[in-house]
């Protein structure tokens, strides 16, 4: 296989709290992403999925976050790169979109100016060229009458239109990698459908690789090639999308799939996962999921399981995988 576009290896992030205790937010995360592919990172609140993406972008607060491991992107280790190098990469080769567009749109500049800024900064375009490019990008994300909208301020736009404007800004310099952190979570379903449709079309047109961070397994199933499932700071399962949904190999994934009410299946009772996630200032010994796992045994509570490859390209961090034999 060719050199991956992005390779994350043994990423660890710890935050120092005010009380002197440290919280382990990301604990030995690793995955690779090929050019043009879409990787979904799935998990519930606090599993470390957003912290993982912020450390790839170099956006974690330097004072409180201790980061180790490596994140190789086109030959550069982003964790050790100088601030200047990161600034040159961000908005150019690497871009990010967020759940709430107003976190990345500045309310006091027009959307056109904000898209143009990236093109002037990274491509050395003249203001006139940059404005023309901004209009082109707005058309690209299917905003109607882009020649007028380019002079609008963010508050003039509806939620769905703002999300489009933010995507236009992220894609202005044709990045190799787009990180999308819950890009449709705050939107109504009919608007979410529009944005997912747009992302699908843009991906086909530009070939940008995407990391999609979400809690919504439906969104992942519709958009991603590969999936990473995170629990309590660790990758517990990694697989191509079809295999993950058909033959999940980590009990947490099994429970997660069983706990969503589905339109396409009849369920009398949801397979709720009992209990709550462990406290990460003092993570339990052994498997992090053991206390909530119906299949856990003595070893699971005592020793932390290593990642094992249960099938080609299918990794699970579970002593009891493959799971088939548990119910036969």
């Amino acid at each position: 296989m060719t050199e991956p576009l992005l390779a994350v290896d043994d990423l660890r992030v710890a935050f120092a709290g005010d009380d002197g205790r440290t919280t382990l937010a990301v604990d030995g995360v690793g995955f690779a992403l090929q050019r043009g592919r879409t990787l979904g990172i799935v998990g519930e609140s606090g599993c470390g999925k957003s912290v993982t993406s912020l450390s790839i972008m170099g956006l974690l607060p330097k004072q409180s976050a201790r980061v180790s491991g490596s994140v190789m992107f086109e030959g550069t280790d982003l964790l050790r790169a100088a601030d200047r190098t990161l600034r040159d990469l961000r908005g150019d080769r690497l871009a990010m979109i967020f759940q709430e567009p107003m976190t990345s749109l500045n309310p006091s500049y027009t959307v056109g100016d904000q898209i143009a800024e990236a093109v002037i900064r990274h491509r050395g375009a003249s203001p006139r060229e940059a404005r023309a490019h901004a209009i082109e990008m707005l058309r690209h994300v299917r905003i109607p009458s882009p020649e007028q909208r380019v002079d609008d301020y963010p508050h003039h736009l509806s939620g769905g239109m703002r999300q489009r404007a933010m995507i236009a800004m992220a894609l202005a310099c044709d990045p190799q990698l787009l990180i999308a952190d819950e890009p449709t979570t705050a939107l109504d379903v009919t608007i979410q459908a529009q944005i997912l449709d747009l992302m699908r079309r843009l991906r086909a047109e530009t070939g940008t690789a995407i990391i999609l961070i979400t809690h919504d397994l439906g969104v992942v199933a519709e958009l991603c090639d590969d999936i990473v499932v995170m629990y309590a700071g660790q990758v517990v399962e990694r697989a191509p999308v079809a295999a993950l949904f058909a033959q999940p190999q980590h009990p947490y994934t099994v429970g997660l799939l069983g706990s969503i009410p589905r339109l396409d299946q009849r369920r009398d009772r949801l397979a709720a996962i009992d209990g709550t996630v462990p406290n990460m200032t003092a993570p339990p010994p052994g498997c992090r999921f053991a206390r909530r796992c119906p299949f856990a045994d003595e070893r699971c509570r005592r020793e932390a399981p290593p990642p094992v490859e249960v099938a080609a390209g299918h990794m699970s961090r579970c002593w009891r995988a493959p799971l088939e034999h548990l119910v036969q």
């Binding site: 459908a193 949904f245 009410p261 589905r262 397979a271």
Partner: protein
């Protein structure tokens, strides 16, 4: 048998802008003529996107706000005719659960005090039995009775929602209005709370008005579903009928818009273009005509009535009989593999 709740022609306008002299110059028609019945022990879901008026209907049914027009009858009596004492007595029978349980729990009170308050107010049990009752309530919602001494911040989001449910149950209500009760919760916790709400309903014979934007959640919990768009019900039917054969173009678009966790599943997509129009100046005729692919001239001028068939499936669309087949909007009912089903069953058993 009289239905528990009869909602008849309910209208609620909010003033959006006033002139210099305080005269209203713009009104939001949040609820624009809504009628439905709810039987004892039944769950009716109100579904729709932001601004469709679903939460306002919930607040009107509890008389937390006054209507512009229309009536809500609780066991046959119009609640808007109640005086203050009658209203307070009625509150015992109709309770509310919120989306954000934390915002609804007083951070300075222990969970025990929070649960005792309604018992005291409505004199549900004699004073010497209140503590015992609080413990029983906590056990009912799956919490440890010893937690009565703790404060709300010591609990996780799912546990706080359980406390909110316990407080609603304290006064032994007949109706609970659940306003997006699981939207703020993580998926695995959401399932715990949904299972709890269903179990409580079976055990106590409660009626729910379940307000949600999530059709998959609603499919799981509701007996009947009313789909709302810009203050009106556009379609109302038994849950099974609605998902098997959605009639209204808006219901169809909502169904086809929900991502389904079946990679590669075939489905027809009906993506609505544009945004929801402002409720200050909703379009004339059918509210959906600006976004509807099937709209004709009649839709632009004439409001379609909500017309029911003998099976109780009601639709507010001039053209629903002529629309194409809608069986491919949701991937056909799939089944998980036998192995996966057995694995998931282990989680169900473990939770019991």
């Amino acid at each position: 048998m009289t239905p528990l709740i009869q909602v008849d022609g309910l209208v609620k306008h909010f003033v959006a802008r006033r002139s210099l002299l305080g005269r209203p110059t713009a009104t939001v028609k949040a609820v624009d003529g809504i009628s439905f019945d709810l039987n004892a022990g039944e769950t009716l879901a109100l579904v729709g996107e932001s601004g469709c008026g679903k939460s306002t209907v919930g607040r009107l049914v509890l008389r937390l706000i006054e209507p512009t027009a229309g009536a809500v009858r609780f066991e046959g009596r119009d609640i808007f005719g109640d005086n203050e004492a009658e209203l307070r007595a009625r509150r015992r029978h109709a309770q509310l659960i919120f989306q954000d349980p934390y915002a609804s729990l007083n951070p300075r009170m222990t969970v025990g005090q929070i649960l005792e308050e309604p018992l005291l107010l409505h004199r549900v049990v004699p004073p010497d039995r209140r503590k015992e009752r609080v413990g029983a309530l906590l056990a009912t919602v799956g919490l440890d009775p010893a937690h009565a001494r703790r404060y709300p911040h010591e609990f996780s989001g799912g546990q706080r929602q359980r406390i909110g449910i316990a407080r609603a149950l304290a006064v032994e209500p007949k109706l609970i209005v659940c306003d997006e009760p699981v939207s703020a919760l993580d998926v695995s916790i959401r399932a715990q709370v949904l299972n709890l709400l269903r179990a409580l309903q079976r055990r106590l014979g409660l009626s729910y008005i379940f307000i949600s934007h999530d059709l998959a959640v609603v499919k799981h919990i509701a007996d009947r579903i009313a789909v709302m768009y810009l203050g009106r019900i556009v379609e109302m039917a038994n849950a099974d009928a609605l998902f098997a054969a959605p009639r209204h173009p808006y219901t169809r678009a909502l169904l086809s818009a929900i991502p389904v966790p079946s990679p590669g599943a075939h489905r027809d997509r009906q993506i609505l273009q544009g945004d929801v129009p402002s409720p200050i100046a909703p379009p004339p005729g059918c509210h959906l005509h600006t976004r509807c692919p099937h709209a004709i001239d009649r839709c632009r001028s004439e409001r379609p009535g909500l017309v029911g068939d003998p099976a109780g499936h009601a639709t507010a669309c001039h053209r629903w009989r002529e629309l194409p087949d809608a069986s491919q909007l949701v991937p056909r009912e799939g089944t998980a593999s036998a192995v996966l089903e057995k694995l998931q069953a282990a989680f169900v058993r473990a939770a019991e």
